[in-house]
Amino acid sequence: MGRYLIRRLLQFIPVLLGALFLLHYMTVVGIQISGDPVRALFGDNPPPESVLAAMRADYGLDNPCLDRRFDPCVAMFVERLGQYATGDFGIDLRQGRPITEHLGERFPTTMRLALIAVVFETVLGIALGVLAGLRKDRFVDNLVRASTVLLIAFPVFIIGTLIQVYVGVKLGNWIRGQDSMPDWFGQMFTVTYSADYPWLSLILPGLVLGAFSLAAIARLTRTSVIENLRADYVRTAKAKGMPGTRVVGVHTLRNSLIPVVTYIGFDIGNLMAGAVVTEGIFGVPGIGQFVFQGTQNKDAGIVVGTVTILVLVYLIFNLVVDLLYAVLDPRIRYD
């Protein structure tokens, strides 16, 4: 385990640096091609050049390499790494507040949204997958397979928009119009996030966010269960006289869940990407929306800072998942 851990950590470093550099390079090229983000802030009424220069210096955008197209600006990258190491991920260009402060405000919301999505996709996904796997080629299996394929074919933004229109507006308005319904119940069908109902009003967006992964997990679990049910050790367990529930619940499921747990771990990337769309549609003031607004407003500070943190989170999650994988699967651990 120790050696595995060390090897994995050693691999992590170049990947981390590489991803951060890729990110850095993309933003640098962005500035080199489309122009100075500080200037863009002022719209039609540019302040005197001296002021712009001062601001550029403040934001670290005065490096001459930014004028040379496709220059990788390595010195700038090194400087940035130093700042990241001290927890400084820059400031947004409009309000001049630290990115970390913004994210601190938005993080709980996105966390709640992601939690709802993960619980939903995991519980329902595994349940459906196991059910379908056990009843392979029966009605339940075909139903699960058909509905998950359909779900996968629905891009998140389409589910989100359709649900917003048909559930949020049409059904939701009707429910909210009923006097007999308690107020909180109507909030579950809300069209947009409401700070007064920080959990209830995130249920619908959470389901939308988790929909794709729900389908993926159900299918993955199903395949995995079917595969493991015919594994030799399952036959061994039966030959040992183990009851059916134990054969399925312990011997099969434990093995089947290894890829599923891995998937859920990696899914954090999907969730972050999905959150950009879902939070946008449902007006959830979370990190995904922040990134997207940053992009639209051309706030290089927000985009670089936030995406860097997200990529960090994602990579660390991947590392954790890999280590978790080793915990779950002893074959990996002792290689």
């Binding site: 302040p47 007006g283 407003n297």
Partner: protein
């Protein structure tokens, strides 16, 4: 995605500035007295803003969201009657005196205090204006003091204290509309010393002089709370005891919150939910002509667009009403002048080529050197909801002139880059909104040879002459005469195509009344709102 973005952010992009002026003559009476003698109706209500960029010092405020806050925590120097175009001294200033429209003597009313208790005097005014125009502070509204003598320096020569309540302001040239310019709140606020010493703290809890003051610091992404300032010395009404500006992520959200009863007063309805809002709240909605307009400018530096007939033809080929009805939800009015109808000095029928006449359009277009099969590229800033109508304009040009068209949406930073470096190769969309209530504010910046926002590069000596002659008149009427002549030149030559003016879409909820659209702030008059 349109729904994600505070629509009002587009305002910055489109160079929409806000003018803030208290209500004009007829409205000052009762409301003002109420505010002054504490006979307010009381209660509190909730409205909404998008998270502002910055709140203070006020000269940093050149966008609609902080503008809404400053319309209550700040005070205009003077205001302008939108009917007559005359100055009304219902603000901080007692009087403005000038002999040559170059040197102005400003007298401050006695007894005013900042929200922190400091007196508002000549020093406070000079302190504020000095800060505004100082290049080092990079104030977004510094341009308003650009005509000041010695503008940009740490101690401009144009500001001189006469006594505790009197300031002498010297401009670098005559400008008859300067007093009206003073109605723009953020740029000309006096500043408390405390604020300028620690601008960061001040940004969290701005110190103003207006009828309302901050009730605790700015709660980022949540709310900005205002409470009535009891020592307010002015006349502006402050009916409600307190106002909460709930911070909404988008206008769509704001509408949802309004529908759910979480917001009492909807400032603006997002165009995407307008059809729904119209169905639900048609009776309540307050629709008034806004003090802004949308236009397409021609790149005069491109040979193709140099012939006025071609430009006239293009303008005539656009069926404004059809686009408004079918793409823009009907919440606009076709332009008839380069100045929006709500502005003092606007005209109903000034624009000959703003009508729809496909036959004449084609004839003029070809006369001006255009021919069938030409390819026109239309430019606009992306992600601000312009896609639909620009495409519709393109389609009408294609149908009526026989051309083909391309659309080039650009992110705003690239758009500004195109503007500055004159990279446009075809008509480009822009908008302009009121800074101060004078027709000059819509003509000079857009079409004067040296106009700040004359991005098409149009130049006409005759037009420039009319403008400067107007500036030197000593009466508003006299000035308008020349400004109108300048406008006529522009509308004949068509360096830009006026398209349409928006209508406000304010919706008051059931528990507030007395809601009025204020053209000076392009917002509801928050202080007048009473809680039922």
């Amino acid at each position: 995605m349109r729904t994600m973005k505070p629509l009002r952010f587009a305002a910055i992009g489109a160079a929409f500035a806000l003018v803030v002026a208290a209500c004009g003559g007829g409205d000052e009476g009762d409301g003002g007295d109420d505010g002054a003698d504490g006979g307010a109706s009381g209660g509190s209500y909730i409205t909404h803003v998008s998270e502002p960029e910055q709140l203070a010092p006020s000269p940093m405020c050149y966008e609609s969201e902080c503008g809404a806050i400053w319309s209550m925590i700040g005070e205009p120097m003077v205001s302008v009657d939108f009917e007559s175009g005359e100055l009304v001294f219902d603000g901080l200033l007692e009087s403005i005196e000038t002999e040559d429209n170059t040197v102005f003597t400003l007298t401050i009313k006695d007894g005013w205090t900042f929200h922190n208790g400091d007196p508002v005097d000549a020093d406070a005014l000079i302190r504020g204006w000095t800060w505004t125009q100082n290049e080092q502070n990079a104030a977004d509204t510094a341009g308003f003091l650009g005509k000041l003598e010695g503008a940009g320096e740490a101690n401009p020569s144009g500001l001189e204290k006469i006594d505790d309540l009197t300031v002498e302001v010297a401009l670098s040239g005559a400008f008859v509309e300067f007093p009206k310019m003073l109605s723009f709140r953020p740029a000309f606020q006096p500043q408390a010393e405390e604020c300028l010493q620690d601008t960061e703290a001040c940004n969290e809890q701005p110190i103003g002089i207006g009828p309302y003051m901050m009730d605790g610091p700015w709660q980022h992404n949540q709310a900005i709370n205002l409470v009535r300032y009891e020592d307010y010395a002015g006349e502006a009404p402050a009916e409600a005891d307190s106002i909460q500006f709930k911070i909404e992520e988008s206008l769509v959200n704001a509408f949802r919150d309004f529908s759910a009863g979480n917001i009492d007063l909807l400032r603006t309805t997002d165009p995407t939910v307008y059809p729904q809002a119209e169905g639900q709240y048609a009776d309540q909605m307050i629709q008034e002509d806004q003090t802004r307009f949308t236009y397409m400018s021609f790149p005069m530096f491109e040979d193709y667009y140099k012939n006025p007939d071609l430009r006239r033809g293009i303008s005539l080929a656009i069926d404004r009403q059809a686009i408004i009805d079918n793409v823009l939800n009907g919440i606009y009015e076709p332009s008839t002048d380069i100045v929006p109808p709500a502005m003092p000095g606007s005209r109903d029928d000034a624009c000959e080529y703003c009508t729809f006449d496909p036959e004449q359009a084609k004839q003029l277009f070809e006369q001006g050197g255009g021919s069938e099969g030409d390819e026109l590229t239309l430019f606009f800033n992306a992600d601000a909801g312009h896609e639909g109508w620009v495409e519709a304009v393109g389609r009408q040009l294609a149908q009526n002139l026989g051309i083909t068209f391309k659309l080039r949406p650009l992110p705003w930073d690239q758009y500004t880059n195109f503007i500055e470096e004159q990279k446009f190769t075809g008509p480009f969309r822009l908008g302009w909104s009121i800074d101060y209530p004078s027709p000059e504010n819509f003509i000079r910046p857009l079409v004067d040879s040296n106009g700040d926002s004359n991005y098409g590069g149009y130049s006409n000596e005759e037009l420039d002459g009319f403008l400067s002659q107007g500036d030197q008149q000593d009466s508003t009427d006299g000035a308008y005469e020349f400004y109108h002549q300048a406008g006529d030149v522009a509308l004949d030559e068509m360096p830009l195509i006026p398209l349409w003016t928006g209508l406000s879409t304010i919706i008051p909820g059931d528990n507030v009344s007395n809601v009025r659209y204020d053209p000076a702030t392009d917002d509801p008059a928050f202080g007048e709102v009473t809680v039922n």
